[in-house]
Amino acid sequence: MMTGKGILKGLGVTLKRFIDTYLDDLRWWGKRYYTPEGIAHRSSKDAKGVFTIQYPEEKLPVPEEFRYKPFLLYDEGPNGEQNIRCTSCGICAKACPPQCIWIVRGTDPQTGRPVPQPAGFWIDADICMSCGFCAEYCPFDAIKMDHNYEVASYTRNLMDINDLLKPVSYYASIRPLNYAREEEARKAKEAAKAAKSQA
């Protein structure tokens, strides 16, 4: 065997890749960058040539299940009030593997009895491992995982209830399929309850 054949063969691969870059740019003239089709093409099995996502000008869309940090949901009332879904049952705090969720259960100021409202809610984002257990096991769909990853800051990140609260409409916009499924389940449950009370 000729010495150097292996090296030439390898160089052929790199050369082909080099040429492919230009061919692909020509084929997708003007549409390869900054368009959703272009990004989808560069993430598909036929991707070749320049593979780069031009962040921050264009962003790689995240899948629905993507999870970054948790947030709390509230339903928007007719007069703009925030109906927090959390009942401070504590399941998320118990399930949390690094134990980064802190909840103070709310109490009625008159009777002193517990009420299904959190009086305080903290998530230490510098401990959170983004595992998603809190969202997975919450029976009230009150805590979900956010898609927003652009959260770098100049200080440490301890999130209190004000940082955590986001409207349900935001949740519906980032996870439409999950939202639809949960709403359906909720309606079915309510219908079953109504049927039972009638019977």
Partner: protein, 222 residues
């Protein structure tokens, strides 16, 4: 240098004649100094844990930090500007990290990438884990996430660039000279546990207090 770069550099109040745009800019020393630093932030090539893999991904083809002048990962601290602390800092490792930081020439920046470097992360409770690199180094940007995705890392680096843009030579900590750890941080060492030289009096007082308490309890038990 691109035309846009020059236009960025130019102070807003000075009109440049049209025939000279792209060749001339009127600016302040701070601005050109910051411009130089923010456009070639060379990270130090060292990774600690999981986050390091995302850092490599950010350097690889898909996210390509070279677009920001950050592609030159230097294995030597002498040639690097920014230390991306990518991963869990352990007690065994922290003396080496501090030593590396001290060897970096200023201006130098520290980015705490991921939950572990920011505040201990999921391993915070561990007996060999330092709860955040900011216990030792002045951190410029914290990037939460476990691990932060490459895009989140790049976002953090852009935040660092913005921070640099706002700095002034007169006030940056390494030329200020007032703080003793502005340039070099005392290196901790490994004893029965990790000992931070800055905290020796505190540790000594606390240990003595505990010993006194123990002596008080012991006769009572006897």
């Amino acid at each position: 240098m691109k035309d846009e770069d020059l236009r960025d550099l130019n102070l807003p109040n000075y009109e440049i004649p049209p025939e000279l745009t792209g060749q001339l800019a009127i600016t302040t020393l701070d601005r050109i100094y910051n411009f130089g630093r923010r456009s070639s932030l060379w990270p130090m090539m060292f990774g600690l844990a999981c986050c390091a893999i995302e850092m490599i991904c950010a350097q690889a083809g898909r996210y390509d930090m070279a677009r920001f002048g950050m592609e030159v990962m230097r294995p030597s601290p002498r040639q690097s500007d920014v230390m991306i602390v990518a991963g869990t800092v352990t007690k065994k490792m922290v003396p080496a990290i501090i030593r590396l930081y001290n060897q970096m020439p200023e201006p130098k920046y520290v980015v705490a990438m991921g939950a572990c470097a920011s505040g201990g992360g999921p391993f915070k409770e561990g007996y060999n884990v330092v709860a955040g690199i900011d216990k030792f180094l002045p951190v410029d940007v914290y990037i939460p996430g476990c691990p932060p995705t490459p895009q989140a890392l790049i976002h953090g680096m852009i935040l660092l660039q913005q921070k640099i843009d706002r700095q002034s030579i007169k006030h940056v900590r390494w030329y200020d000279g007032k703080k003793e750890d502005a340039v070099a941080v005392p290196v901790p060492y490994l004893g029965p546990d990790l000992i931070d030289p800055r905290r020796i009096p505190e540790i000594k007082a606390k240990a003595a207090e505990l010993a006194a308490q123990e002596q008080q309890i012991a006769p009572q038990q006897a």
